[in-house]
């Protein structure tokens, strides 16, 4: 009596070639209020030729900057951070043997290079235990080994390991397009020096996310330095961020086979702001607020030049052009009809490409080998070119069929359906109220009950706004041009808006 899920025997052997882009950035600046230069995102070419950084043992080495407050005055130093991490968790891989991999190792080594009169040597090793709960991973860091010696302001501070603790706990939430994480840290470092013990207590929260176009990690750490004579309180807000910007350049020569093309410009930004709330009298003259940062150098990559002359002058020309440059649209631009309705299958395929969801390549092998393929949607057959995209979307819970189990892959998509699925790529539907009985749109009553939460959230995020009468027009079909604009908006969101929210909106406000 299997109706919705039907197995079919067909002459296709599925070969799973999955390339998961590695954006792992958790702890690239360690957890001591410093900033590192920021890790470069994978370039499209790297992803295409399968050269990802997803190796079991990974070393990350980068310029590092930190402030030492142990003397009562902020002393800035530049250094080098080396992070060795063993991490390979694939949350989508349900077959992996989890038992062996419930432990990870993180090792940070930090050393000073400038200025001359400061020396820092810090090595800290964490053992990380984790568990997977649905689409979330919870990681607990335990100190395994911690050595530290700091020379600053003419004083040598040596960490007393027996009295020092460090604790970090992280929750990662995986959505189809973005992985978000949040962590808490708490350290107590006791240093012995010439003038007795100095204690540094740090506790704070950090937020981060990684997606194909940007990645950010921002801390808000409240710190207290105390020795027998004085106490100092300050807040550190380090933030490290890497984002890709899309930029078009027109070619100078006339005799060239293409007019111009887009480039992905990758920028890394690392800044560290602090606010001092209580300071020892000896430091009466230092400023309460300051920002230090690491200089940036942009990396860039050319994107294919596609001749989209057929849509020149269209309202959505630039959206469509960007879609082609990013290869989110791949159909022949000569036959691209911006005013046609986009189908559910086409829209989902665009989204899967837009968020760079790993796609499983099904390859036909010898006919003698027959494997059963579980048909998830009766109307999405493996012979279709877009099968693998729908399946990728299905695996990450991005796409579900309609109520009778069919996907209706060739039906036009309604605006409300498009918004629901768009929000799901970012996992931000949670911003809506559940259940939402009312949205701010005039035609609220026409919005289906299953879409209200997402429409509400999209409005809150500013992804959709009403037309001049305040209508959302939920059941209108989406044209191809509108779909390009929507996906481009999503892309901008992943490139810029997310980054702003995780950097400036946290760093610029002392708390």
């Amino acid at each position: 009596m299997k109706k919705l899920f039907k197995s079919m025997l067909i002459g296709i052997a599925a070969a799973f070639i999955l390339s998961f882009p590695a954006y792992a950035q958790l702890g690239d600046s360690a957890f001591f209020g410093g900033i590192s230069e920021g890790r470069r995102l994978d370039k499209t070419t790297q992803l295409k030729i399968n050269e990802t950084k997803n190796k079991k043992q990974e070393e990350y080495k980068a310029p590092y900057k930190e402030l030492i407050f142990l003397t009562g005055r902020p002393i800035e130093y530049n250094g080098l951070i080396t992070k060795n991490s063993k991490e390979k968790i694939d949350i989508y891989d349900k077959t992996a043997k989890k038992a062996d991999e419930y432990k990870l190792d993180y090792k940070f080594e930090i050393s000073a290079t400038t200025p001359q009169d400061v020396s820092v040597n810090r090595t800290i090793k964490y053992k990380v235990k984790y568990r997977i709960e649905d689409k979330q991973i919870i990681k607990d860091f335990e100190t395994d080994d911690w050595d530290e010696t700091i020379n600053a302001g003419g004083v040598t501070f040596t960490l007393d390991e027996d009295q020092s603790y460090s604790n970090v706990s992280v929750i990662e939430d995986y959505t189809p397009g973005v992985t978000y994480y949040k962590g808490n840290l708490s350290h107590r470092a006791v240093y012995t020096g010439q003038d007795g013990n100095t204690t540094l207590e740090m506790s704070g929260t950090f937020y981060g996310y990684t997606c194909a176009y940007s990645t950010t990690e921002t801390f808000r750490i409240d710190c207290t330095v105390s020795n027998g004579n004085w106490q100092m309180q300050y807040q550190l807000r380090p933030s490290v961020s890497v984002a890709k910007n899309l930029q078009y350049t027109e070619n100078e020569p006339t005799s060239i086979s293409f007019e111009g093309n887009y480039q992905d410009i990758m920028q890394n930004k690392s800044g560290l702001s602090y606010n001092i709330y209580v300071k020892p009298p000896i430091s009466y003259d230092i400023a309460d607020t300051r920002t230090v940062f690491i200089d940036t150098f942009n990396d860039f990559e050319q994107l294919p030049a596609i001749d989209t002359g057929y849509v020149k002058g269209h309202f959505a020309e630039y959206d469509i052009k960007r879609m082609y440059a990013m290869q989110i649209l791949t159909e022949d631009p000569k036959f691209y009809q911006p005013d046609q309705a986009i189908t559910r299958g086409q829209f989902v395929e665009m989204l899967v490409r837009a968020i760079k969801l790993p796609v499983e390549n099904t390859q036909t092998k010898s006919k003698s080998k027959k494997a059963a393929v579980n048909l998830v949607f009766p109307d999405v057959l493996p012979e279709r070119d877009d099968y693998k995209y729908i399946m990728a979307a299905y695996r990450s819970d991005l796409a579900v069929g309609r109520s009778n189990g069919h996907f209706y892959i060739d039906s036009p998509i309604e605006r409300q359906e498009a918004i629901v699925i768009l929000l799901r790529t970012l996992g931000l539907e949670t911003l809506g109220l559940e259940p939402t009985s009312m949205t701010a749109f005039t035609d609220n009553s026409k919005i289906a009950s299953w879409a209200k939460k997402e429409v509400y959230a999209a409005n809150k995020l500013g992804i959709v706004a009403g037309d001049e009468d305040g209508n959302f027009r939920p059941t209108d079909f989406v044209s191809k041009a509108e779909a390009a604009a929507l996906v481009n908006r999503l892309n901008q969101y992943m490139r810029e808006d997310l980054q702003t929210d995780y950097t400036e909106n946290i760093v610029n406000y002392a708390d």
Partner: protein, 1021 residues
């Protein structure tokens, strides 16, 4: 693979023509397996046409009976006339009865045979010959009666055997025949009770004894009825209409004889399919019927579209609203009765199209649809109850209704199943039996039997009594809580309006003094007490306990009402619905108890708010006043959003946090545009100057500026332009370019670039004497300065527009081209008026709290004015104590031990009576003054040096040749600038500084080096 291809083809057609699934009332109609396909009959067209009798209108009482009997070929008409009131003769009656007995064909054969033997010349019509003979052979009539009927001479007939075929059949005779006929088919179908029914007829005595049992049985089984006047009229005749009705009354008794099945169901969906086979082209209309047992039958209507004249349709007689129609007249939602004849005719198998059906596992049974009766439209009802049991065998669900009745309903087949049924894999850990819940429209929720919520509330949606949807309602509800979003709270009239989960507006009353209110405020992240507070109200301080006035539109609330008054709220629990927004203040004007605020968000939208004084404002992580907020500030605001009705939303501010760093204009640069590097997102400015207190200074040949952000504003002559425009037209143009740089978390970046075509002219800083609020203003020496959109106006560090320039602002203006201002820099006018500098001899110390001086001198301009009055200064942790070696701790400032400070003389810098700095420095009765031109670690160099002559009270020039003075500091010194005390770090080049020193050399000359103790910044150049 062939099958797959056909499957594909049909899917693509089906999707193209199907009604969207969302509009289906029976959502599983196309996915449940099809059990039977019933094709129409190939000669149905002639039936339909023949049954459109002209002498029967749609309202005729026996219409349905006649059409039904006609469709079953039991009655026929003559040339589209049925003649309903014609009386039925004996031979006609026998023909009807024999058809019921299934002997029609036998009778026809006998007729042919007899006709051949007897020829056409009989008294009996040819057609009746066979019926009479067959009737006799089956004991419906006696041999004598048969002979009577066949006799040529009727006069010789014994009256006891008198039976003529063309005489009207009596009612009692027909009754007896009917009983015989039914018993012939199946002996047990008729109820046979005691003889009593006939006694209810007033003329029971006239019923012939031989027919009495027949009449009794027919009336008991509702095959025949008496007349309205209470008689049975046994010897009366029957009309053809009555006969049709009687045959119709036989229904199931007859159907089983004729291998006809009667089924009931509801049409769930209709799909048209085209099947392309070689030669012919068939179009099918598949009418999906949800039968009463929850399973699916398809009525198939077929049109052959080949050009052949033998093209055959398959259709069926459909009786709908009194009309005789065909299958295409059926619509989704129709509730129907349909008569089916199972047959194994090869024609049928050939004509049927099984390919387009839903996925099926077993064999599909084929049959012919004989008759369809429309019984009415779709009736959708819901039933609430608790789930009692599931009967997977029969596809039934048992529920206990809210009235405590046990009710059993058939389920639509797709709603339940057994994965372990034939062919499936056996699994040990579950039975494989499941039920599907529709908890939300997007997903089906498949629950295995072991997980079914037996005893919980469910809601069944019935389509014509078949369950089409099972919704899980939940566990038994104990307390009635209403959840909603507040749209209005009127505490003066005592009512609250919410929009509930279904979108309905609900208003409830309350009594302000009786209502219990809990509300989770945004700053309380957790309810630490929890629900226990309801049980022990005085258990602990609960921050959630509050009053009803705290509930505001936009809040999400749960409401409980009094049991005896469901319109009055007993208690309410609320949670806020706030959203964080970021933007730049376009205007912030304190106005009595509220401040008017205009915010421009990052997406360009503008919000207007009235901010009451009670709203918490913070700046740099510390509480602040409305007066500390200014236009141009970036803010993070917490906004309460309340959607009052669709399209109408109210927002109110709950908290304002002013940005600490970032977005403030850190420097303003002037120069000419050099290169634009789009890859590194940099532009370079040649011959760059920075705006400092001494004007355009800090010259560098090239300055590289990052332009990596997308929100940079470019202006050319007051018009906004793009970066592309700049790189095309203004590169190397020798135009002056003015750049406002802002702080960003990862370094300085460009905020605005303005190109101006004129010559730069920097004015001295001055006070704005008049500003019209439209960007035009005057300073003391320059009237009518104009600004435009491109003008860089920095007001207390923030980039604002010319409209924000106000009278009494202290501004430095850089003109470019006439009276047009390219840069207006507004900052605090340097002043030192608030802080008092005094010198006093300590009398006593109240350790850590205050100290008292015996007498003191107050520094007034350059003179110490003696005052013999005791004075007390308060001190605390923030007070800085200094001696020659630098900062000392407050616990060293005591009036005992050898460290006692009593009788020592200190210089005190105080704000009112609060001592900020207490310095042990020499008596500084001399002063010098100059403009800062360089600052080193503990040395500051002044130019334009003058000294104060204590005797004359005049300032004298140091030297005409070299008027520099070098001031060094000891560990104990202070710099007072803008009413704040700091170190040399707060000094800037260009500051005019007055320095208190303890000695002046006899001969005043240039480049002299002095030790400074108190430095006042007086003004800036």
């Amino acid at each position: 693979m062939k099958k797959l291809a056909a499957f594909l083809l049909s899917v693509s057609i089906a999707v193209g023509s199907a009604v969207p699934a969302f509009s289906l009332t029976d959502t599983k109609i196309y996915t449940d397996p099809v059990r039977n396909i019933f094709l129409g009959k190939d000669n149905a067209k002639s039936f339909i046409n023949n049954l459109k009798f002209r002498d029967i209108d749609s309202g005729y009482w026996a219409n349905e009976a006649i059409v039904r009997a006609g469709a079953l070929d039991m009655v026929k008409g003559y040339n589209n006339y049925y003649q309903p009131s014609a009386v039925v003769t004996n031979q006609e009656a026998l023909a009807f009865i024999l058809r019921v007995m299934g002997l029609e064909q036998v009778a026809q054969a006998r007729g042919v045979e007899l006709q051949g033997r007897l020829g056409d010349n009989t008294v009996v019509p040819v057609w009746a010959l066979g019926y009479l003979a067959t009737a006799q052979e089956n004991n419906l009539i006696t041999e004598a009666q048969y002979n009577s009927a066949m006799a040529e001479n009727r006069e010789n007939i014994d009256p006891r055997d008198r039976f003529f075929g063309d005489e009207p059949a009596t009612r009692e005779q027909v009754a007896t025949w009917l009983v015989q006929a039914v018993n012939f088919v199946s002996a047990d179908t008729l109820v046979q009770g005691e003889q009593q029914k006939i006694y209810s007829f007033s003329d029971w005595k006239s019923i012939t004894a031989a027919h009495a049992p027949g009449v009794e049985i027919c009336t008991q089984n509702n095959i025949m009825k008496g007349l309205e006047d209470g008689r049975f009229n046994p010897q009366g005749g029957l009309t053809r209409a009555e006969m049709a009705q009687i045959l119709s009354n036989l229904d199931s008794k007859y159907y089983s004889a004729a291998r006809i099945e009667r089924r009931y169901g509801t049409i769930g969906g209709i799909r048209d399919v085209e099947s392309k086979q070689t030669g012919t082209n068939n179009r099918y209309r598949n009418i999906y019927v949800r039968a009463n047992d929850g399973k699916i039958d398809v009525l198939q209507y077929r049109i052959e579209t080949s050009n052949s004249p033998q093209a055959e349709n398959r259709d069926c007689v459909v009786y709908k609203n009194g009309a005789v129609l065909g299958l295409p007249s059926l619509k989704e939602g129709d509730e129907i009765e349909y008569l089916i004849k199972y047959t194994e005719s090869p024609d049928l198998a050939e004509d049927a199209d099984k390919e387009a059906m839903n996925e099926y596992t077993g064999e599909i049974k084929l049959g012919e649809a004989v008759y369809v009766k429309y019984n009415g439209g779709l009736d959708i009802t819901t039933v609430n109850g608790t789930l009692e049991a599931m009967d997977y065998e029969n596809g039934q669900i048992h529920i206990m209704s809210t009235k405590n009745d046990r009710e059993i309903y058939y389920l639509a087949e797709g709603l339940y199943g057994d994965e372990n049924a034939a062919g499936g894999k056996k699994s040990t850990d579950n039975s494989g039996k499941y039920l599907i819940f529709s908890e939300n429209k997007l997903y089906d929720d498949k629950r295995y039997d072991k997980d079914l919520p037996y005893g919980s509330s469910v809601k069944l949606t019935l389509n014509n009594n078949i369950v089409s949807e099972v919704t899980y309602v939940g566990d038994p509800v104990i307390i009635n809580e209403l959840r909603g979003i507040v749209t209005e709270n009127n505490s003066s009239l005592g009512y609250l309006t919410v929009i509930d989960n279904k979108g309905n507006e609900v208003t409830k009353n309350y009594y302000e003094n009786d209502i219990k209110v809990e509300k989770q405020q945004y700053y309380d992240s957790d309810d630490e007490i929890g629900y226990i507070d309801q049980v022990f109200p005085n258990f602990k301080y609960d921050p959630r306990d509050t009053s009803i006035t705290e509930v505001e539109p936009g809040d999400i609330v749960f409401i409980r009402c009094y049991k005896d008054d469901p319109d009055a709220i007993e208690s309410i629990s609320a949670s806020t619905n706030y959203v964080m927004k970021y933007g730049k203040l376009q205007r912030f004007a304190p106005n009595g108890k509220t401040s008017e605020m205009t915010v421009r968000y990052e997406n360009g939208a503008v919000g207007y708010f009235d901010v009451p004084d009670s709203i918490f404002i913070s700046k740099a992580g510390k509480p602040a006043d409305p007066a500390d907020v200014q236009s141009g500030d970036w803010v993070r605001i917490l906004v309460n959003q309340a959607i009052i009705q669709p399209g109408y939303m109210i927002e109110s501010v709950k908290e304002i946090s002013v940005e600490n760093s970032g977005h403030d204009i850190s420097s303003i640069i002037k120069g000419t545009l050099g290169a634009i590097n789009l890859l590194q997102k940099e532009i370079s400015v040649q011959n760059a100057y920075k705006l400092t207190n001494i004007g355009w200074s800090d010259y560098s040949e090239i300055k590289n500026l990052s332009v990596d952000n997308n929100d940079i504003e470019y202006y050319y002559n007051g018009n906004r332009v793009s970066l592309d425009y700049i790189s095309r037209y203004l590169k190397h143009s020798d135009n002056e370019v003015y750049v406002a740089m802002e702080n960003n978390f990862a370094g300085e970046r460009v905020s605005r670039i303005t190109f101006a075509g004129g010559r730069d002219e920097l004015l001295s800083p001055d006070t704005v004497t008049n500003a019209d609020g439209l960007g035009n203003f005057s300073i003391i020496n320059n009237d009518n300065i104009a600004t435009d959109l491109g003008t860089i106006v920095r007001r207390h560090g923030r980039l604002v527009s010319g409209y924000d320039i106000m009278t009494s602002d202290f501004a430095r203006v850089s003109l470019n081209g006439g009276n047009y201002a390219a840069v207006v820099d507004i900052y605090d006018e340097p002043s030192v008026s608030q802080l008092m500098v005094s010198r006093g001899r300590i009398l006593s110390v109240d350790e850590g709290n205050s100290f008292t001086v015996k007498s003191m001198s107050i520094l007034n301009n350059m003179k110490w004015v003696y005052s013999p009055i005791e004075r007390e200064y308060t001190i605390d942790n923030s007070t800085v104590f200094m001696d020659e070696s630098g900062v000392v701790s407050i616990d060293k400032f005591i009036d005992y031990t050898s460290d006692s400070v009593v009788n020592k003389v200190y210089t005190i810098i105080s704000d009112g009576s609060k001592a900020l700095y207490v310095l042990q420095v020499p008596y500084t009765k001399y002063g010098v003054r100059g403009t800062v031109y360089s600052i080193a670690e503990n040395t500051v160099n002044l130019k334009d040096g003058t000294y104060y002559d204590n005797d004359t009270g005049m300032w004298g020039t140091v030297s005409a040749e070299d008027n520099g003075i070098s001031i060094t500091t000891t560990p104990a010194y202070v710099v007072i600038k803008n009413n704040k005390v700091g170190s040399l770090e707060v000094l800037e080049e260009g500051d005019v500084v007055k320095v208190m020193v303890n000695e002046l050399p006899e001969k005043i000359n240039g480049s002299m080096s002095l030790t400074g103790y108190v430095l006042f910044v007086e003004s800036q150049k």
